[in-house]
């Protein structure tokens, strides 16, 4: 099993360098959202027209308290774009960036469907949750 994995990785590496046409690569599984992917996708939706690397990084850190590296954010953004859940364009610059432009991301229709589907799954799971003891203490 481990061996097959190594082989697949090896084949993939070669494929990226252009030796093997993609039709020979192993078929990828149907697109599903990973945990970080879901959070990033939701963040992009929440940020509206100002979603780019740093803003997503900061917002996610504020909301979740999780410290994710900038590289991980970018990897996820680009992977979501490859999967067709995000689209992007180069946008305006600001002095804090040293005048450099940023890549602004926006959720596509498929992306919105994907977060909604993920939410639906959670909602359905929540429905089966036993209701908590009502807290009657007011203060």
């Amino acid at each position: 099993m481990a061996r097959t994995l190594i082989c697949c990785n090896f084949v993939k590496v070669i494929a990226v360098r252009g030796h093997i046409p993609s039709r020979f690569l192993p078929m990828s599984a149907p697109e599903q959202l990973g945990n970080l992917e879901e959070l990033v996708l939701l963040t992009v939706c929440a940020l509206g027209t100002d979603a780019y690397g740093v803003s997503v990084h900061q917002h996610l850190a504020e909301v979740s308290g999780r410290a994710v590296s900038l590289g991980a954010i970018h990897t996820t953004l680009y992977r979501l774009q490859d999967k067709g859940f995000l689209e992007s364009e180069m946008g305006g610059s600001s002095p804090t960036r040293g005048g450099r432009r940023k890549r602004l991301f926006r959720a596509t229709g498929a992306g919105l469907d994907a977060v909604r589907a993920a939410r639906a799954v959670r909602d359905r799971l929540w429905e089966g949750m036993p209701s908590p003891q009502p807290n009657l203490r007011f203060s």
């Binding site: 494929a15 990226v16 360098r17 252009g18 030796h19 780019y52 690397g53 740093v54 990084h57 900061q58 590296s69 900038l70 590289g71 991980a72 970018h74 990897t75 680009y78 180069m90 610059s93 600001s94 002095p95 804090t96 960036r97 040293g98 005048g99 450099r100 432009r101 940023k102 890549r103």
Partner: protein, 881 residues
């Protein structure tokens, strides 16, 4: 957009991001890092955290967004190169054809030379035991020579000694040259030169017989094996085996075999092989073969070594034979015997008394250098042309790069184009060989050495390897620089049309190539002009005696007087004289002369001639002092000689008048008296120094008759000579030739003439190719400047100014080439001329002629283009279309 440089990011991190992230994301990432760093400016450990985030970008984005590009040798790319190359050749047909014409011509010439050398190199490789056969040659000083020299021959007794005394020798073969004379069968008498050889000859060497038994063909005395061509001449359809032939003045021979082929690739001249036993059956010959210093001039020693024997061991043992068996005799000293593998004979060390058809290694290197130079000129042409039209291709390169081509792709594509041109050229070159090879074979250094280039290539797989390797080498040489140069363009510049225009390295390279090409051409031209003049000088040279109207007749075994009396009866004959050797045709007979009492080292080499009393008169020689040798010879008079001025000078005998009656020593001990002194004349070809000549009155030694015909009566006179010869009833037909024709066909003269033809042809080719290149560059240059020329013309420039303007650059380049090449050509020509004792001195006229030829052709090439541009109506070019 602006890039404020007051960034507080670690510079190493910035560099890492720029270096290892794909260019498409660098801007975005750097911006993100800057922004993040500003946000965290007052938080703890900001610097550490920005490193953490920056490195995380590297980890995930290492060349992540690189589009997978095709491997530069993938089938799809190759197909693409091929189509693009074809399209480009079609579109630029003029350039392509200039390149192909130049390359194919030079490739054809180079191929001929390479094939010729390869053929020489492969001689005697076909023998089954080829790697075990050796020959022994000698380093020898004879009593006729001052210094020792290398001879392909060795003492006759060496073979027997090797068989008995040297371990590791399986078999030895005696081979002896000098089997010659007139071979007679029935009414057919033909001159023949052949070999004598042992019965082991057919055992050691893999020559097959198509008739006869190889084991016994050379066993008996009086056996002879003929080549198929010779057998055909004598016997036609008859079966030659068992037929008896006679050699005039020798014995009878029975044909015991016929060789299977005429064209064995071998150093042996295989026309006729007589059995060595027939030589031994003659007592006097046998005695001579026993004396090592007598037999050394014509005997060859071949040996078949046992498998696993080292040549070095044999060499040591053979060398050890010298002190005991070949001790010095009089002035004959054998310095060394060298064991040489059979395959090293051809293309080996140059030596005297070589077996025959052989190309010395030095000649092979000379020819290879010629081939390389002529190929390089064509390659330079290709480079120059391709680089000069790089502007046209730069846009193509730019677009390719924008669409994702990498440098390897671009350079592969240009290399591929070169390979395609080279393949086309080599195909044309191989077709050209069909016409060029016969012309090459007509050269005397090819035809007279029996090394005709064979065009039958069937079954020679190695040859295709040669062709393919040759093509690739040429393609790489020609295509390397253009590929490097063109693939260097930056897409933005290339698309804007900025690349290739400026006077960058490409332009310098191109100019350098033009200079080199023209320098080479000029060196060839000057050498060729010098050679032509020297050859003409030698052929038409004044030898100091009468040649016009003289017909030389070979006497064979006919007594001179008998022929003289017959031929004198003709009304067209004005005089007849006799000589042992015809002067100035390359043959000579050495004799060593000295004054009485001188030591051996003061000996001077001279040439001896036997003459009759009519010679001086007949050839118009001038007797400076003394008297002619008369026919009324007494016993003392046979010891009297006529000498030339040079002999007096070399022996220090004073003026001609003083010298008459002086005595000196000729040969070993013979004392001779000077009867008369002749004014110097050339009895040798003009490549040799004037030597002392001795003329003996010896009517029984005359081999040739010089028949002087009345002016304008050549035809009738020669018919009379033929009749006189027929009337004597000799079996051979008459062998005569006009003296002038003989001089023209003298080997040295022929060699000189053929050398200049070869060099001249190559010079012509080099100039043609260089000018083709110039034509291409000039036309491109003009094309680029059409607008400029039109505007200048509108503003009032006249045609002359414009032509000068456009030609100036080229004229400067040719000028540089002239300055560079003149001294080199001068040195080269003079070095070559050193080989001739009597030579022309190349003056400004020679250099001027070469330069004139070059300038005329170059000016035609440039002028045709510039004139066209200068004469065009400017309006046509200034209109926007």
């Amino acid at each position: 957009m602006t890039h404020p440089e007051h960034s507080s990011l670690p510079r190493l991190l910035v560099w890492l991001v720029a270096r290892f992230c794909h260019e498409a994301v660098v801007e975005e990432f750097r911006g993100d890092l800057e922004e993040l760093h500003v946000i965290r400016a007052d938080q703890p450990m900001a610097r550490l955290r920005i490193w953490f985030d920056g490195l995380s970008l590297l980890r995930f984005h290492f060349r992540r967004h690189r589009r997978p590009s095709s491997f530069f040798l993938s089938p799809a790319m190759l197909r693409n190169y091929f189509f693009v190359a074809i399209r480009s050749l079609k579109r630029h047909a003029a350039f392509a054809s200039i390149n192909i014409v130049g390359l194919s011509l030079s490739m054809a010439v180079a191929l001929i030379l390479i094939l010729f050398i390869r053929q020489a190199d492969q001689k005697d490789e076909f023998h089954a035991n080829a790697d075990r056969i050796v020959r022994v040659y000698s380093d020898f000083k004879s009593s006729f020579n001052r210094n020792n020299a290398l001879y392909g021959t060795s003492p006759a007794s060496l073979a027997d000694l090797m068989a008995s005394d040297v371990p590791g020798v399986e078999e030895v073969v005696h081979v002896r040259s000098g089997f010659q004379g007139t071979l007679q069968y029935g009414d057919t008498g033909l001159p023949l030169r052949g070999l004598w050889a042992d019965p082991a000859f057919f055992e050691v060497f893999s020559f097959d017989l198509k008739a006869g038994d190889p084991a016994t063909a050379l066993s008996e005395p009086g056996s002879i094996v003929l080549s198929p061509a010779e057998a055909e001449k004598f016997f036609g359809d008859e079966d030659p085996i068992g037929q008896t032939m006679s050699v005039v003045g020798d014995r009878e021979y029975t044909v015991t075999g016929v060789l299977a082929r005429d064209d064995y690739p071998t150093v042996f001249p295989l026309t006729a092989i007589a059995s060595y036993a027939s030589l031994l059956s003659d007592a006097s010959q046998q005695e001579m073969l026993g004396l090592w210093y007598a037999s050394i001039y014509r005997s060859y020693t071949f040996a078949l070594l046992e498998p696993g024997t080292r040549v070095d061991d044999v060499q040591a043992r053979v060398r050890g034979l010298i002190p005991t068996h070949f001790s010095s005799f009089e002035n004959n000293r054998l310095h060394d015997l060298v064991v040489q593998p059979l395959g090293d004979i051809s293309l080996g060390v140059e030596m005297g008394n070589e077996l025959g058809s052989n190309l010395p290694g030095s000649a092979a290197w000379f020819l290879l250098t010629l081939a390389a130079i002529i190929l390089l000129t064509a390659c330079f042409n290709y480079v120059g042309l391709t680089v000069s039209r790089s502007l046209g291709r730069s846009r193509e390169v730019g677009v390719r790069k924008v669409f994702g081509a990498e440098r390897t792709h671009i350079s592969s594509q240009f290399l591929f184009e070169t390979v395609l041109v080279a393949v086309l050229s080599v195909s044309i070159a191989v077709l050209l060989l069909k016409w060029l090879v016969p012309a090459f074979n007509a050269f005397s250094f090819v035809s007279q050495t029996g090394m005709l280039l064979n065009l039958d290539w069937s079954g020679d797989m190695g040859l295709y390897g040669v062709f393919i390797g040759f093509t690739l080498v040429v393609a790489l040489t020609a295509g390397f620089y253009p590929a490097l140069f063109l693939s260097r363009f930056r897409p933005a510049d290339a698309v804007k049309g900025m690349a290739g225009i400026s006077g960058g390295s490409g332009s310098r390279m191109r100019k350098g190539l033009v200079v080199v090409q023209f320098a080479i051409s000029l060196i060839f031209l000057i050498t060729a002009v010098v050679m032509v003049r020297q050859a003409r000088f030698m052929q038409q040279g004044d030898y100091g005696f009468r040649t016009e109207g003289i017909v030389n007749v070979r006497l064979f075994d006919v007594p001179y007087e008998r022929f003289r009396d017959r031929v004198s009866q003709s009304a067209h004959v004005e005089g007849v004289s006799g000589m042992s050797i015809i002067p100035a045709l390359g043959s000579r007979s050495d004799i060593w002369v000295s004054v009485p009492g001188a030591s051996d080292d003061d000996n001077v080499k001279g040439y001896r001639f036997a003459i009759d009393g009519q010679l001086i008169d007949n050839l118009g020689l001038t007797l400076l002092a003394g008297s002619n040798l008369t026919e009324a010879a007494t016993f003392e008079e046979t010891q009297r000689v006529i000498v030339n001025e040079t002999l007096l000078e070399r022996l220090g005998l004073g003026s001609p008048v003083e010298a008459v009656g002086e005595v000196f020593i000729a040969g070993d001990t013979t004392r001779v008296t000077i009867a008369g002194v002749l004014q110097d004349f050339h009895a040798d070809d003009l490549s040799n120094e004037m030597s002392p000549y001795l003329f003996f009155y010896q009517p029984d030694m005359l081999g040739w008759a010089n028949v002087r015909l009345a002016p304008g009566q050549m035809e009738a006179g020669m018919a009379d000579i033929r009749d006189a010869w027929m009337a004597m009833g000799h079996p051979r037909s008459v062998d005569m030739e006009a003296f002038d024709t003989q001089l023209e066909q003298n080997f040295v003269n022929l060699m000189t003439r053929d050398m200049y033809r070869l060099i001249g042809f190559i010079a012509f080719l080099a100039v043609t190719i260089a000018c083709l290149g110039l034509l291409g560059i000039a036309s491109f240059n003009v094309e680029n400047r059409t607008r400029e020329i039109s505007i200048r013309k509108v503003l009032g420039a006249d045609v002359r100014t414009l032509v000068l303007l456009l030609s100036r650059e080229f004229m400067i380049l040719i000028g540089i080439a002239t300055v560079v090449s003149m001294p080199m050509a001068w040195i080269l020509a003079n070095t070559w001329l050193q080989g001739f004792a009597y030579r022309i001195s190349p003056g400004p006229g020679t250099l001027g002629l070469a330069l004139f030829i070059l300038l005329t052709i170059a000016a035609t090439a440039i002028g045709s283009q510039t004139m066209k541009a200068a004469l065009a109506n400017p309006i046509d070019n200034l209109h926007e279309n």
